[in-house]
């Protein structure tokens, strides 16, 4: 505690108890403190002593803090009180448990695009609210945006309390040099649009991991903000969508009139194509079921290991080799079969449960990518490294290979290779056996511990996950789900179907309607479910391809000659997709009509005809899609060659 802190503590005695310094800025020092009466942690910002003695600075500080204290918004750090005691001026605000955006970028580098987008959107919400109240932030920087640890939400702090600086022409300017809009540097008073410029700088830094301009002195920095064009963000921010990059770059325009009109306009630009999908609870439980199956294997492994070990031991001690070999094999098989059988039963019951809530294999397929994305994000947040799992896995595989080799290769050739003298066989055999049994025990323990290690989930992007995904995409999985649902009444899925995509929703709706219409009508119409199925799969594939094309476009340099070609292909695909979905929709509508009016209409036949032509077309297009995939692959490979960011030229 330095003397200033002691002085402050003396003044606050009985009301707040200072703990330590959190940081200092241009205007003052921030302390972590406790409010004694309410027993809660707070942050106290104290105006620098040299500023506090200047009545004009002091008045401004107090007044602006009071204005900001009136703001009430989920993304603004609330100010509890503004007080003056003797020579001290300070305000008390809520403590946000987390770090500033700047700290996060310094710690982890550039933010992933979705996180950066969230921070930008939330900050824009907060700014929009403040602007509606006529309050301009004036000092929006990376250090004034706090990211709460447990919720990940962004909170904006320090409204209207910018530090004072001298501008180029000697006039005082409030704010931080790297975040000042060109017009503010020229001396125009800050307004909502200059806040948007600062938000653009924040967005750039978050996405690129570095600010748009860097310079040794603040004068040079200001000059760059005034004169130099912003480096292309797309070449720094990998994986960010074009929409996001455009929105940030739009905020960074030199002329305020070119920027978004207000935060609402910016938010409209940011409006995301796909909201984060909430996976329904039964599905979520289903995805995490692995943790519940693990104990079965964990328990079975040592039993298996010990039992087999004892029997191998007996094999070499006694003379009943033939009998014991059979016994050994049966033991291993039964002891493996029991947990596997339990596991399968468990899986079946889980699938039935899923079915009871109205979810089928299509839902598993549709929700899988969302689940995977969620897991990847969670892993990143927790900073989990699946290292110990890796090591265990490798050791286990090595152990298994050693055992196999010894049994298959060394053992039959023992006499020939190792023991030329027949009399020495016993000793060598014993040595080999004890070595083998040790390796065997270790291998099985590795498997057991691998199952047991808590928090060790298989990597969401690893080979196992890929295998799983391929399994659930396969026809086999569909059959299994149908089998497990034997004798069960399928119920309608509830409201929680948001993970489904449009094609799937339509396909399922047509299936349901199909089951409801009378038999003779069904006979007359032919195999509609197969038709819808093809259309549905086709639409899904078209969408996936179009999405991947869009991603590739965003990753490429805006001037790349490939872009128009990719865009043309994408437009075609999107057109086809829309056509397919519309066909599905019309099919459903006609079936609905048929069900309501109980009569067969010519429209339906016509729609069916259309759908059938579309189906043949889709089937034909599959070959073309392979070409597109090849093209995508090529583009991606080209892109992977390191893109060196163009060196920023020195200011003119």
């Amino acid at each position: 505690m330095d003397h200033r802190a002691i002085e402050l503590q003396q003044a606050l005695l009985g009301a707040y108890s200072l703990e330590r310094e959190l940081g200092r800025g241009g205007m003052g020092v921030v302390y972590l403190a406790r409010e004694i009466r309410l027993d809660r942690p707070v942050a106290i910002k104290v105006l620098h002593a040299e500023l506090a003695v200047r009545p004009e600075a002091r008045r401004r500080f107090v007044q602006e803090a009071r204005t900001a204290a009136r703001l009430a918004h989920p993304h603004i750090v609330p100010i509890y009180s503004v007080e003056e005691r003797g020579s001290l001026v300070y305000f008390v605000m809520a403590l946000v448990d987390g770090e500033t955006l700047g700290q996060r970028i310094r710690r982890r580098g550039a933010l992933p695009p979705d996180e950066a987008e969230r921070a930008l959107r939330e900050t824009a919400w907060a700014l929009g609210y403040a602007h509606a109240h006529g309050i301009v932030h004036r000092d929006l920087t990376l250090e004034n945006i706090l990211i709460e640890r447990h919720s990940g939400r962004a909170l904006l702090a320090d409204f209207g309390i910018a530090g004072e600086r001298d501008a180029i022409d000697g006039e005082p300017v409030f704010g931080t040099p790297g975040f000042l809009a060109p017009e503010v540097i020229r001396g125009v008073p800050a307004d909502a649009r200059s806040d948007l410029y600062a938000l653009g700088v924040v967005g750039f830094s978050a996405l690129a991991g570095r600010p748009p301009f860097e310079a040794a002195t603040s004068a040079q920095l200001l000059a760059k903000h005034l004169m130099q064009p912003v480096p292309p963000l797309a070449s720094y921010a990998r994986g960010a969508s074009r929409r996001l990059v455009d929105a940030v770059e739009c905020c960074l325009r030199k002329d305020a009139a070119d920027r978004p009109a207000d935060t609402a306009a910016l938010l409209a630009m940011l409006e995301r194509a796909a909201e984060p999908v909430t996976i329904a609870v039964p599905l979520r439980t289903w995805f995490t079921r692995w943790d519940r199956i693990r104990p079965i294997y964990a328990l079975a492994t040592p039993v298996l290991a010990l039992q087999t070990w004892l029997m191998i031991d007996g094999y070499f001690r006694s003379g009943l080799r033939m009998l014991l070999t059979v016994a050994l094999i049966t033991t291993i098989l039964t002891l493996t079969a029991i947990p596997v059988a339990v596991h399968l039963l468990f899986e079946a019951s889980e699938l039935r449960r899923l079915r009871r809530f109205g979810f089928g294999v299509d839902d598993i397929r549709a929700a899988f990518p969302h689940w995977q994305r969620e897991q990847v994000r969670q892993r990143r947040d927790e900073g989990l490294a699946p290292l110990h799992g890796r090591v265990l896995f490798d050791l286990t595989v090595v152990g298994a290979v050693v055992i196999l080799l010894v049994f298959a290769v060394v053992w039959p050739n023992l006499w020939r290779w190792v023991v030329p003298v027949p009399g020495e066989i016993g000793a060598t055999e014993t040595a080999l056996v004890s070595m083998l049994s040790t390796v065997y025990l270790a291998t099985l323990s590795g498997v057991g511990v691998g199952f047991l290690v808590p928090g060790h989930r298989s990597s969401p992007t690893g080979w196992l996950a890929g295998l799983k995904q391929r399994f659930w995409q396969s026809r086999f999985a569909g059959i299994i789900v149908q089998l497990s649902a034997l004798g069960q009444q399928g119920s309608l899925a509830t409201f929680a179907t948001l993970h489904r995509n449009t094609e799937l929703v339509l396909g399922l709706a047509v299936d349901d309607l199909w089951k409801a219409i009378p038999d003779d009508a069904r006979r007359e119409l032919g195999d509609v479910p197969a038709l819808t199925h093809t259309l549905q799969r086709g639409a899904a594939e078209l969408r996936e391809l179009a999405d991947r094309l869009r991603d590739s476009e965003a990753e490429l340099d805006p001037a790349d000659p490939e872009i128009p070609r990719l865009a043309a292909v994408r437009t075609t695909l999107e057109g086809q997709h829309k056509e397919t979905v519309t066909a599905l929709e019309r099919l459903r509508l006609q079936l609905l009509r048929l069900l309501a009016s109980k009569e067969h209409t010519a429209d339906l036949t016509q729609q069916l005809e259309l759908a059938r032509t579309l189906e043949t077309k889709l089937l034909r297009d599959i070959a073309a899609h392979t070409d597109i995939r090849r093209m995508l692959h090529r583009v991606r490979r080209q892109h992977r060659t390191p893109l060196t960011p163009s060196p920023t030229p020195s200011p003119a």
């Binding site: 108890s17 409209a268 519940r292 328990l299 409201f495 979905v581 609905l592």
Partner: protein, 653 residues
């Protein structure tokens, strides 16, 4: 869906084909029907609200609907359901908004009764935030009701919906009135234009209904309700929602004043009167890791259990044999007949393996402890973390598998006792030759062998599943008591051996104020020169006991805040008194720290410090007597345990 609905659905879908694809019907309001649909181009779920066809036919209604939806579309706030598009197509008038996966507050109250106070306050704050934003944008909601607040399931946040799109109330022969009768402010009924104050009134009614589980004014028809809005005084919220704090009740009742000028000026003013959200602070990562360390230690045990079972089964049989020989004069077939080291054979696996597992656990514990100490935390932090952890995560109910394991292990124990009884009295059950005994005994022996394996495996499983077959409540009472004991602090100190003094840990928000002060005092005292320290030998001890007294006071206050004691005036008085004592204790600690801090800067003579120290010691003694001899306190706390009969919750009509 009725036939007409189906036709509506098909007609609308026809009009929207290719742009939106309807999925199902979500609900119906005064102005129209809401469908769950999908935006085909963006592939995202949307909610589509369609103006009822009979209203769409009236140009004035149609215009109003469109204008107001456009107004709402200007709003962008995290707690307002966004409106994506407003459009007309083939005679249908509709707007498209975001989907909130959850239920409306009205549904929630109808389903689960009144909302608990703390959650209610949070919901009010969130709705207030959204309303305040809209008001700042110059937009009035005009229809704040329970049904226009949606609670998102995944995040529990409250989102406001349907800005300005209130239905018109039919009042024969009078000027038209827009809104929901049960939420209409009196001045609106008199014909005044809607204002911020009328939204505040509606928010007040919403708050009242949410906390009480029913609406304040109910009547047979709209006219009766409106009459009550104008004339009848608001029923007492304090009696309708007993759990609500007087502060909250006063804030809500002020919203419900008949005179608009008597209400809160703005929604912000209303939010400000609600208590601020208690900051949620997560435990620091090293501490969190330590609290959940059992997760990492468990596998060692789970793995050891089946091993014990497997390795000890033959020894167990041998033991049985030794026991039965004397009783029956009969020998079981033994794997190692006449083994002299029999007892050792039994003891070895049964003792050695748990010992090994214990050793492993000890090593793991020490490793985790060292990690904690290395990041700068001490035993006090561990205690706080442990306490918070047990408070926050009360024991989970065991799942189905857990219960199965529990039952299996008990059944096995019982079965084995029965078998042992049968084995000991074998002559009662089987007559005849020795061969028959032999065969019978063999069967029993095999069964017991399997029982033994099952039992240990079940023990192992119980460690994995975290259910105790013998209901020891391990890891809760015992563990907490261990870490609170002196042994625990020794262990922690031992674990820190050779790690050296660490600088302050980065994350200390979990520490209560008095602990922060006490630790700071310890640090400052440790930094003093030896000569000065000798004069102040008892200071750390005094600070420590003062800190403990304050902690106990806090714990008592917490107990006194139990809902059962909420409306006992005696408890309130006692709470106030304890709060004052608590503050005095913290201030004394604070003074000690200040003096010490001054001392290390060598600015203050020791005389003032000794004085402070004397005061602190006196205060500590006072607190101690207060804590020990508070008869009314004990009486109150005893009363807390007698449950109050819950009041029946009337449903919303």
């Amino acid at each position: 869906m009725t036939g007409k609905d189906e036709l509506d659905f098909a007609g609308l879908q026809d009009a929207l084909a290719g742009v939106y694809s309807l999925e199902s019907r979500l609900g119906q309001g005064g102005m129209g029907v809401v469908y769950l649909g999908r935006d085909v181009a963006l592939d995202r779920p949307v909610a589509i609200k369609v103006l009822r066809p009979e209203l769409a036919a009236r140009p004035d209604q149609r215009e109003r609907f469109l204008a107001e939806a456009r107004t709402g579309a200007r709003l962008s706030h995290p707690l307002i359901v966004p409106i994506f598009a407003v459009a007309e197509a083939a005679g249908w008038v509709y707007f498209v908004m975001g989907v909130v996966a959850g239920e409306s507050l009205g549904e929630r109250v109808r389903r689960a009764g009144p909302v608990p106070t703390s959650e209610g306050e949070r919901i009010l704050r969130e709705v207030g935030w959204a309303l305040a934003y809209a008001h700042a944008m110059g937009i009035l909601h005009r229809d704040v009701t329970l049904d226009n607040i949606l609670i998102e399931r995944s995040t529990a946040r409250a989102m406001l919906v349907d800005f300005g799109i209130a239905a018109e109330i039919d009042r024969a022969g009078e000027a038209s009135l827009v809104g929901t009768p049960a939420y209409l402010a009196p001045e609106l009924i008199h014909g005044d234009p809607p204002s911020v104050q009328s939204d505040v009134y509606a928010l007040g009614i919403t708050a009242w209904a949410m906390l009480a589980g029913r609406l304040p004014f109910v009547g047979d028809d709209a006219a009766a309700v409106l009459l009550q809005q104008v004339q009848a005084p608001v029923p007492s919220l304090a009696s309708a929602a007993p759990g609500a704090s007087p502060r909250l009740v006063a804030a809500i009742e002020r919203c419900l004043a008949k005179d608009p000028t008597a209400r809160h000026d703005t929604v912000e003013a209303f939010i400000a009167t609600l208590e601020r959200p208690g900051t949620v602070t997560a435990l620091a990562p090293p501490l969190h890791r330590w609290v959940t360390r059992w997760e990492r230690i468990r596998p060692a045990w789970a793995f050891a259990m089946p091993m014990i079972a497997m390795l000890s089964v033959e020894s167990f049989v041998a033991l049985l044999d030794r026991l039965t020989t004397g009783v029956m004069g009969y020998r079981f077939p033994m794997p190692f007949p006449g083994d002299p080291g029999l007892m050792m054979g039994i003891l070895r696996p049964v003792v050695l393996i748990p010992a090994a597992a214990l050793l492993l656990q000890g090593m793991l514990e020490v490793r985790e402890l060292r990690r904690v100490v290395r990041s700068g935390y001490g035993i006090e932090d561990l205690r706080v973390a442990l306490r918070r952890h047990t408070l926050e995560a009360p024991g989970e109910a065991p799942g189905l598998l857990g219960r199965v394991i529990h039952d299996v292990s008990w059944l096995t124990v019982i079965g084995m006792i029965v078998l042992a009884y049968v084995a000991l009295h074998i002559r009662w059950f089987v007559g005849g030759s020795n061969d028959e005994y032999f065969a019978f005994a063999q069967v029993i022996l095999d069964m017991m062998r399997w029982g033994w394996v099952i039992l240990w495996t079940a023990f192992g499983a119980s460690f994995v599943m975290r259910v105790s077959p013998i209901r020891l409540h391990h890891g809760k009472g015992l563990g907490t008591r261990f870490w609170n004991s002196r042994l625990g602090s020794w262990l922690a100190r031992l674990a820190g051996f050779g790690l050296g003094r660490n600088e302050a840990p980065a994350h200390t928000l979990h520490r209560p104020t008095e602990l922060v002060l006490d630790l700071a005092i310890d640090d400052l005292w440790g930094a003093l020169p030896d000569t000065m320290r000798r004069g102040l030998l008892e200071l750390p001890a005094v600070a420590d006991s003062l800190r403990q007294r304050v902690g106990e006071l806090k714990e008592l206050t917490r107990q006194l805040e139990a809902p059962a004691l909420a409306d006992v005036p005696e408890a309130a008085a006692l709470r106030a008194r304890l709060a004052i004592r608590q503050e005095a204790g913290i201030t004394a600690l604070e003074r000690l720290r200040l003096q010490l801090a001054g001392l290390s800067g060598e600015a203050v003579p020791t005389g003032a410090l000794t004085e402070q120290l004397r005061d602190a010691r006196a205060l500590e003694g006072e607190l101690l007597t207060e804590l020990a001899g508070h008869p009314s306190l004990k009486r109150l706390l005893k009363r807390k345990s007698t449950p109050r009969s819950p009041t029946p919750t009337p449903l919303l009509t």
